[in-house]
Structure formats: C-alpha cells, structure tokens
C-alpha cells in the first residue's frame, strides 16, 4: 500500500496542506514547530481512528478553525482508494471512497507502522505502551482482533463499575462469563501472533532476539472460556475487596529480550536498534500475511537513527514506502518535502 496524496485542513498548526508522496522514501523536513509530526499524526489517524498521542480529537483542531479534515489517496495494488477523517462539533467520522466507514474497513486499504524517537523508551519501559504497540501489530494482521479488544474493554468498564457500586455476586458472575469468553479469544490470538513474530524475528535476525508473552491468566492448563472463568471465580473475592478487576488481558505483559537479557537493561542506542529489528520483523510478517507492505512512518528520523541504522533500515525494507520527518535534510531519500513554519511556503525539493 502506498500513500499518493495527503490533504489536511484545520489540523493542529496546519491550516491547509496538500502534498504528493513518492512510493519509496519520503522525508518531510523543517524547523521544530513547522508541523512535521502533525502530518504523521494525521496519517496515523486515518489508519487507526485515533492519535498516537493521548489527546482528545477536539484538541487537534486548529485554533482558528472549528473542524479538521484529513484526506488521503492510497494505492493498494492497482486500486486507488480515498480515505477521509473529519472532526466537527457533532463528532468524528471516517469515510472510504466517500461512504461512511470505520477503522476495520479502512484498515483493509491502509495500515501504517509508526516508529518514533520520543516513544521507543516508553514502549520498552511501560507495559501499557508495549501492549498498545502489540495490539496495533495484531490489528494489522488479524481483522477480528479490534472487535475482541473493543468488546473486552466495554465488558471491563461495566464490570469495574459494578465492583465499585454493588456487591451482587450473581451479576458479577454473568460479567465474568462474558469476560472469560472474550479473554480466551484475545489470549489465543496474542499467543499465536507472538509465536509467528518470534519465528519471523529468528528467520531474519537469528535467535538472540525474542518477545515473551506473559498473560495475566494462567495458561498452563490451556486457553478456554471455562479455564479462565474458573480463575476469575478464584479472584472474585479479591476483586470485590479491591473494587476493581485484578486479572485479564488488560493486564497482560510483553517482555523483549536480547541474548536472554531484558531490553530494559540495554543502552538507549541498543534499545532503539533492537526495537527497530522487531518492527522490521513485523513488517515482514505483515507482508507475508497481507501480501503487501504497510506504510512505515518514522518521526524525528535523525534523532531515531544514526547512519548505521539508516542503512540497516533501508536494506531491510527495500520496497516499503517510508514517510519520515526530520529537522535536517537527508539526500538519501527519494522525495524531500520542506515544511516551513505556517506551511504556506511548502516546497517540494526533489522528485516532488
């Protein structure tokens, strides 16, 4: 899949922007505050329906405007598709070829992989961030996964509310039954995905690098609705006492290891490289599953990668479309787009 065109209106500090992208390596460069990351954020929203930052949609609207509008022309095989995300006072909407749509439908035509210099440390240090990254990966290769996660989150919200407001054990059992059904689907999908990703990592980079999936439920006796329900039964009194859910896929952990040592104990540069290897392995897995590459978004390219990593990335992803941002200009990119503050002086420098 390839982004061909991108049009933004009223998004962050970009009042109006219209760019064309090359099918290979694109670099958007400019001074801090020019809106480079906002462009990647807009592309990310068209892929996942929400920002990579914890921010309300209303906060993404330009100060001088009351709505934002994002339009992207995508090429998948020989099919051209138009993706639109718009936010107005009455809500957020996604459109596929001018028809009302949703993230699941849009993901059939476009899927971005986002790598940022500012979040790689957070990804490794925070269990929540790590889970988000893995969830996004699985969403890319498993069409039902997002439905499992959204349903599970709804169930969890209801259960936690119940635990805070009432002690009706019989009602709690019914939520636990529904939760165990959805949990077994999530854990099974995660387990299969991590096995495939580890296999891909081993194929590409040898067996030094591995991801360890540690489900909150004990899976030694297997993965099934009944097995998980029994565990929820055992934890029930503790949950009632603490007034919150204490076990489930929302507490699952993923640990990244290199030569049997957790990523957390490596230097910043090593962490970056190892994480990049996992991203590259995922991109390959995505290619094998979907028979096409995703679009690779890299924020703060010059901070994220040194020269060695740039070569490593370009060697390992020869056919993938890359959209990167940087303060500096790098001539190794096919398409250079200069973004100046206020974005009125947008300049296409090379092959644009």
């Amino acid at each position: 899949m390839i982004i061909q065109t991108l049009e933004l209106k009223g998004f962050r500090n970009l009042t109006s922007l219209d760019i064309s992208l090359s099918s290979q390596k694109n670099l958007i460069y400019g001074l801090n505050g020019a809106g480079k990351t906002s462009i990647l954020e807009a592309i990310f929203i068209l892929g996942f329906g929400k920002s990579f930052l914890k921010v309300k949609k209303s906060d993404l609207v330009n100060f001088d405007m009351n709505a934002f509008f994002l339009k992207m022309g995508v090429l998948k095989g020989s099919i051209e598709t138009e993706l639109i995300a718009s936010f107005k006072k009455n809500g957020f909407y996604l459109f596929l070829n001018k028809k009302n749509s949703n993230v699941v439908e849009l993901s059939k035509y476009f899927y971005p992989v986002f790598f940022s210099s500012s979040n790689y440390n957070r990804t490794i240090d925070s269990v929540t961030e790590m889970r988000k990254v893995i969830n996004r990966f699985i969403f890319g290769v498993h069409s039902l996964y997002i439905h499992y996660i959204l349903s599970y989150n709804k169930l969890l919200k209801q259960k936690n509310y119940l635990l805070k407001t009432t002690k009706n054990v019989l009602e709690l059992n019914s939520w636990n039954h529904a939760i165990s059904e959805m949990s077994s689907k999530i854990v099974d999908t995660r387990m299969q995905f991590i096995n495939k990703l580890n296999h891909e990592i081993e194929n590409k980079f040898g067996n030094h690098l591995t991801i360890l999936y540690k489900p909150s439920f004990d899976t030694n006796k297997g993965i099934s609705d009944d097995i998980f329900y029994q565990q929820l039964e055992k934890t029930k009194n503790l949950e009632i006492k603490n007034q919150k859910s204490m076990i489930g896929p929302h507490l699952d952990d993923f640990e990244f290891y290199f030569k049997s040592i957790n990523f957390k104990f490596y230097s910043s540069g090593e962490r970056k490289l190892h994480l990049l290897m996992i991203y590259i392995a995922f991109i390959e897995l995505f290619k094998k599953t979907k028979n096409q590459y995703p679009v690779f978004l890299i924020d703060d390219f010059d901070t994220t990668f040194d020269n060695q990593n740039i070569d490593f990335l370009l060697e390992n992803c020869p056919d993938i479309q890359v959209v990167a941002t940087s303060v500096h200009k790098f001539k190794s990119f096919d398409n250079l787009i200069e973004l100046k503050c206020g974005n009125k002086d947008l300049k296409r420098v090379k092959n644009g």
Partner: protein, 200 residues
C-alpha cells in the same frame, strides 16, 4: 441566536427527547405539524394521549398491551411450554412477523448495564422466575442482542434459571438470509462460523 418563539422551542425540545430524533429532525417535525391543517397536530396529540392512557404492561409477560393479560398470554393457541425472552416489546413484533414461533414471550425491558444503573432488579427477571412455577415450561429461548450487555444478560439468566432444570437455548447469530457473503462484515462471518450447524 434563537429565532423561534418560546412555544416552538419548547415543542422542538420535547421532540428531541425521543430516541433517534436530533435537532434537525425535531425542527422538521415541528414545522410539518405547524404548517399542516391543525387537525393533523390535534389528532396526533390525541393519539399519543390515548395510547399512553390505555396502554399497560401485561402482568404475565410485561409486553405493552391494551388488555391484561395481553393477547398472546391469553391465547389458547400458543405453545405454553416455550418462553422466548426478549429485551424490548418491539422485539416481539419482529419475531411474530416471522409467523414461525407459537410460544409465549417475556419482556425484560432492557439489559444489564451497571454504568446505566440497570441491575437485575431493574429488569423483569423475578416475573420470569414466577412464571416457571406456574406453567409446564420446558424451554426458555434467550433472544437478547449479541452486544456485550446482551451477552452478559443472557449469562445472568442462564445462571439463575439453572435450578429449574429446563432447556435453555439462545437464538442463533450469523449471516442474514439473502446477504451476499462478500458484503457481510468479518465479525458477523466469524460468529456464523462459530455457530455453524452440521448438515450431514
């Protein structure tokens, strides 16, 4: 800036309280009623008042009815060994339209939802339990929606109905009849695959 009179605004606000009616629809309905012959508005108002005054809940199944017990509960033609549990009265209309089901109904008037403050006490569940003592019921068909709340409600009912040692079934979930499989979303197809039946 408000451009309508207080009485018009009041009507728009009242119409907006109806589910699925937003401001624009409320305005359209309001101006339709005001522009038409006054009889149209008066007949509508009278119909609403009459329906509200004469409609009660059936004391057996909790369906909306003009008589107690309702036509279905009072009928001698219905199969009293089966009770189909639905969320809302209008669900009965959809099932009746098929003409296939000849059993009785029980309306819960909602689903479990702690966030909305709906617990088992707010639903007509105790009424269902009472009915199981009075009839020779052999099957309870759970026809709650395939939503998170609908599933949790079905689990709750299964749990509390266990002791009656009767058959408890859930309506099948899957592909709509006549739908082209290419145009059905993946979640529905997955559900249909899970609920597949043996034909040979």
């Amino acid at each position: 800036m408000e451009t309508f009179s207080l009485t018009i605004n009041k009507l728009i606000e009242e119409l907006k309280k109806i589910p699925t009616i937003g401001r624009k629809s409320a305005q359209r309905i309001c101006f339709y009623l005001l522009k038409k012959d006054p009889k149209v508005a008066l007949d509508l108002a009278a119909a609403i008042v009459e329906a509200r005054e004469k409609t009660i809940l059936c004391s057996i199944c909790y369906n909306l009815t003009g008589q107690d017990p309702c036509e279905i509960c009072a009928s001698k033609q219905r199969d009293t060994t089966k009770i189909c549990v639905v969320e809302e009265p209008f669900n009965i209309i959809s099932i009746e339209r098929t003409g296939l089901y000849k059993g009785l109904y029980h309306v819960l008037h909602g689903n479990l939802s702690p966030i909305k403050g709906v617990g088992p006490e707010e639903l007509k569940i105790s009424g269902l339990q009472k009915r199981l003592g009075g009839y020779s019921v052999s099957e309870i068909i759970l026809a709650t929606s395939p939503t998170t709340e609908g599933n949790a409600t079905a689990h709750y009912l299964t749990e509390i109905l266990k002791k009656y040692k009767i058959r408890i079934t859930r309506i099948a979930l899957g592909l709509p009849i006549g739908a082209d499989i290419d145009y059905v979303d993946s979640v529905t197809i997955a559900r249909a695959m899970e609920g597949r039946t043996e034909i040979l």
